[in-house]
């Protein structure tokens, strides 16, 4: 019996070891695919407006290219698009193009060998930079190449509820909240007047991406267009960052923002007077809230045309599992042409990452004045880095933020210094 057990164990171990060895090995990629043409598949986001645009774009392409048809679908359901894409890369089931790439995840997918280097197409860099201008540079990877096509953005601003502002005795048409002091004074007035339970209600939770909607827009504004890593070093222990963090800390310690996850939409429900949102919110809130918008505040105040913010961009990725990458590149260019960008703007109100946006689509902004400020803001945005460990670094930042800022535990200076060290260590890892 003992020998039999040993024999079975050896056979099982052999099978497991063999399988592990097979899984552990890896091969190489293909460059011939970049010239291949034929049918391709694409995924786009599942929000109504983007589905509408996506279907129309695919239909227009397919009618003109019967031998290179696109098969399109919404991104499969999952906890997040990033997890779905990450799993699909591992399984080799990614489509040719995904019109919903989170810039922060680019480095990770690049490391996985999942993304095609768009700079390797003969006109790759030229096309991307001609369309997006200087804004494209921030989407380059560490090796200087583009593994994502800058596509569209939702530059975030402060949305405010005019009715609540009026009730609180604030100017509902042109409220001055350009500095931290002025913003805090307005927030105190909203709270003390009882106009709303909270002045503002960003999600106080610990998910890595939440930094994009409270801390980073204000950091971009305060620093004049910088993010939390510059030249390979964390900047969160710098004075500008500490000013931003201490501003938010005051918001929380004075009870001007909720510390608890809100079930629903606090802004729409009238529980908060302000929200940090992009232009998607215009269609979303519609007539439910009479809103106005102002740029995010800075310590000493900056004019709107000098204020930077977070773009909340989504880009296009081409995946190495694609057999007909030549067609995929053509589709990518077709989908980001001036005509298609105009249609996207018209349908969704989201801003194509395109230089001279305001002049290229001047007639749109004339007929949609609500979007004008967002259009102007889209020229001054700074996105998350594109490194291999960006998401881990954002998580480290978020953990520090929820600890020192939201919960007020420990000094911002100490907690952010520790987080900066952690971010630097992650930066040093490949």
């Amino acid at each position: 019996m003992r020998k039999r057990r040993i024999a079975i164990s050896l056979i099982t171990a052999g099978i497991v070891a063999g399988t592990l060895a097979a899984c552990g090995s890896s091969g190489g990629g293909s460059t011939d695919a970049m010239k291949a043409h034929g049918p391709i598949t694409i995924w786009y986001s599942n929000n109504t407006q983007e589905v509408q645009w996506g279907k129309a774009m695919v239909s227009a392409w397919n009618s003109a290219h019967p031998k290179e048809k696109i098969k399109a679908q919404e991104v499969p359901a999952g906890k997040s698009t990033e997890e779905v894409i990450g799993a699909a890369i591992t399984a080799g089931t990614t489509p040719c193009l995904v019109f919903n790439n989170l810039p922060a995840a680019t480095g990770q997918w690049q490391k996985q060998g999942g993304l095609v280097d768009l700079s390797k197409f003969p006109d790759g860099n030229k096309y991307i930079e001609a369309r997006s201008g200087d804004a494209a540079a921030q989407y380059k990877s560490a090796d200087g190449d583009y593994y994502q096509m800058p596509w569209k953005q939702n530059p975030v601003m402060i949305f405010y509820n005019k009715a609540i502002f009026q009730k609180a005795g604030l100017d509902p048409e042109k409220p001055d909240m350009s500095t931290y002091d002025k913003f805090l004074a307005a927030a105190q007035k909203i709270k003390s007047s009882g106009a709303a339970p909270y002045a503002i209600y960003p999600a106080p939770t610990s998910e890595f991406f939440q930094v994009n909607f409270d801390y980073l827009p204000l950091l971009a504004a305060q620093t004049g267009g910088k993010t939390f890593i510059e030249d390979g070093k964390a900047t969160i222990a710098d004075q500008d960052s500490l000013d931003v963090a201490n501003f938010w800390k005051t918001i929380y310690s004075d009870g001007l923002a909720g510390k608890e996850q809100y079930q629903g939409d606090a802004f729409q429900d009238g529980k908060s007077a302000m929200a940090i949102v992009g232009p998607w919110a215009i269609a979303y809130y519609g007539d439910k809230v009479q809103w106005g918008s102002v740029p995010v505040p800075t310590k000493d105040g900056k004019s709107a045309d000098e204020t930077y913010t977070f773009p909340d961009a989504k880009n296009i990725g081409m995946y190495t599992s694609c057999k007909n990458q030549g067609t995929a590149w053509d589709v990518l260019k077709f989908a980001t042409s001036q005509e298609q960008d105009g249609k996207l703007l018209d349908v969704s109100g989201q801003m194509p990452i395109r230089k001279d946006l305001a002049t290229t689509y001047a007639s749109y902004f004339d007929s949609h004045p609500a979007y004008k400020e967002f259009g102007a803001q889209s020229a001054r945005t700074v996105d998350d880095p594109t490194g291999t460990n960006t998401i881990a670094q954002m998580q480290a930042l978020r953990d520090a933020y929820t600890k020192a800022v939201v919960n007020g535990s420990g000094s911002v200076e100490d907690v952010f210094k520790a987080a900066a060290d952690k971010i630097d260590k992650l930066q040093a890892q490949k």
């Binding site: 099982t12 190489g28 996850q261 953990d399």
Partner: protein, 325 residues
Amino acid sequence: MSTSVRGSDTARPAAGASPAAGSGRTHRPPLVQRILGTNPLGWLFSAPYLVFVLAIFAFPLCFAVYMSFFDYFFAAPGANVDRPFVGFDNYIQAFTDPQVLQSFVNVGIFLIINVPLTVILSLLLASGLNSIVRFRTFLRVSYYVPYVTASVATIAVWLFLFGQNGLVNQILGPLAPSPSWLSNPALAMPSIAIYVTWKGLGFYILLYLAALQNVPTELYESAATDGAGKIRQFMSVTVPGVRPATVLVLLLATITGANLFTEPYLLTGGGGPEGRSASPVLLIYQQGIQQGHPGYASAIGVILVIGVLIIGWLQNRFVGGRNES
């Protein structure tokens, strides 16, 4: 049984031969029989489950152990990537990472509250349900409904109950904690433990109800004859009578509790205040899936598995051991 078979097949000399002469010529069954046993058909019948266990549990576990010794990350098929062997680096990192240590403390707090509460409440409620006549079905269904309801739905109810302006705080009035339950670093994990106890109670009550059917009524009658009251009967007859079920409940509550993920993820938004509700599995998810460090995540997972095995062994040793003797 195995000892007697081996004794008859190998150690005993062949008939008619002297022990000395026959020592090198003992009867040996065929190789196939030696590997597959005397009833090879048993392997065939158990093969589907064996394959299932190997594919779904054993292989991923072995693969996780393998990954934990490498700077491993998931890559596209055919991608030429480097995953260097790092020895125990991932384990050293796990044991020195404050977040990982905090997560094990968090899940320890969870288990200390959840497991005893689960055992005591489910046994008491099962005993009560077993003895009452009226509304029995209604009550059994009531206790079981939370267990079969999706966590996402029940969590929404609890968020309304335990929110800043929730029903619980309104009842407590000035005694309501500040910050409130789920945003309070000291109360977040206990709140989750109570929620999970409530949600899982129906299942454990069922286990105890089944066990109670096997406790002979004669024992209660004898105890009553000897003058034992209801509490004495419960302690001296019911509790020992359902000990096997108690071991099962302990083990299941510990294993499911150690694998806590959904509740802190949804109730406290990804780790809770100051990471006080982050569980090891939540960190595994963050490291392995979100951040692309499955090698490190595997090391945390392996430590968790070993920890759960030790706790399970101790529980079996101290609660179930007496039963064997």
